[in-house]
Symmetry: C2
Subunit: 206 residues, 2 copies
């Protein structure tokens, strides 16, 4: 594509480096920015620069944070005896939005994937173990919930962490796999359906 | 959605103001920016700020330009006797990329649309007429090609401009409507097909 201006060309090439945005979309966004008042791009660029320069990660759970330790780890009403291990930051957001969990988190920053060259050392697994040790005296961790993807990599990571935690005598659980609420039986894949039968739970009339 | 950090919240809300980008995509882009080296967001924000502060519009054809007058209007090898009228800047890019047109352009900045409150005064129609007048002595414009969308608004605008130009005795043409190259007859909508029969052209064996 030939651009009438170097400025357009630069903006398009920078914007199209973002994931899921191609040259055509980048051009559409660029022209949109030009049509908006100048404050629009100003607030946008300020938000992006600030994001990158001022962001911090919680030194306990590795979640995004405005301070040294995040608001979840500092939360007075959180249950410190339970840690939910997740792959990445969006997972924390997703679980928080369910309002069904009141414990702490631990963000691994990925899962073990030999193909991509990600071993246990690249993840925050050692940090999880030392965190559990340091909490031992005042707030002992009783349960670790593994909330990783139901993929081979996720399962490998779960297995690896479980083995480490069993040595410490900590209860390890994993989130339930099964048919989604509202999902129809006949359209569920057989692996999920099979697993949901094997891991059936008692039906309680409450 | 609850965000763990004000910085994330600001970035997501700013990015999601862009067209076609919702909250979820904005969050994905924000987290991507965080994962990249700092130079990534730096070059991105610089390109966007520069774009908005340094961009200029050609005072002749209203296309985007790095200078006062754009490279097409200044082009020594362009045919000054033909002006192609388009709706917006992407249309200039699209026609330029065909390499089939060697004349000048005129960017209207939209089409007449009473529903959206866009009348002929909001568009660069007066500027087109005065441009033709000022070129009269040295480079008289002989033909104006209307390359507007084949919509009701586009047709209204074409009609309005044609009436103004006919007063000046300038030849007005419009780009051909018909079946796209490679398009199959049976899948073409009847309006296009009907129009392509009415506006059939002589078949030349060259």
């Amino acid at each position: 594509m030939n651009f009438p201006s170097k400025l357009i060309e630069d903006a398009v090439s920078e914007i199209s480096r973002l994931p899921g945005i191609g040259k055509k979309t980048a051009l559409r966004l660029t022209l949109h920015l030009l049509r908006q008042p100048e404050t629009f791009s100003q607030t946008l660029t300020e938000a992006i620069s600030k994001l990158r320069t001022e962001i911090q990660y919680c030194k306990k759970c590795h979640n995004i944070s405005d301070q040294d330790v995040c608001s979840i780890c500092l939360g007075a009403r959180r249950d410190r005896s339970t840690i939910c291990v997740v792959e990445d930051i969006p997972d924390v957001l997703a679980i928080e939005n369910t309002s069904q969990y009141n414990g702490l988190y631990h963000v691994l920053g990925g899962v073990i994937s030999p193909i991509q060259g990600i071993g246990p050392e690249e993840l925050k697994i050692a940090s999880l173990l030392s965190r559990i040790d340091s909490q031992k005296s005042d707030d002992p961790v009783q349960e670790v919930i593994l909330a990783l993807s139901a993929t081979m990599e996720g399962d490998t990571t779960s297995f690896f962490i479980t083995r480490k935690l069993k040595e410490k005598g900590i209860k390890v659980s994993t989130i339930a796999r099964g048919i989604p609420i509202g999902g129809e039986l006949e359209y569920t894949d057989e692996v999920t359906l099979g697993r949901s039968i094997l891991t059936r739970v008692n039906y309680n009339l409450e």
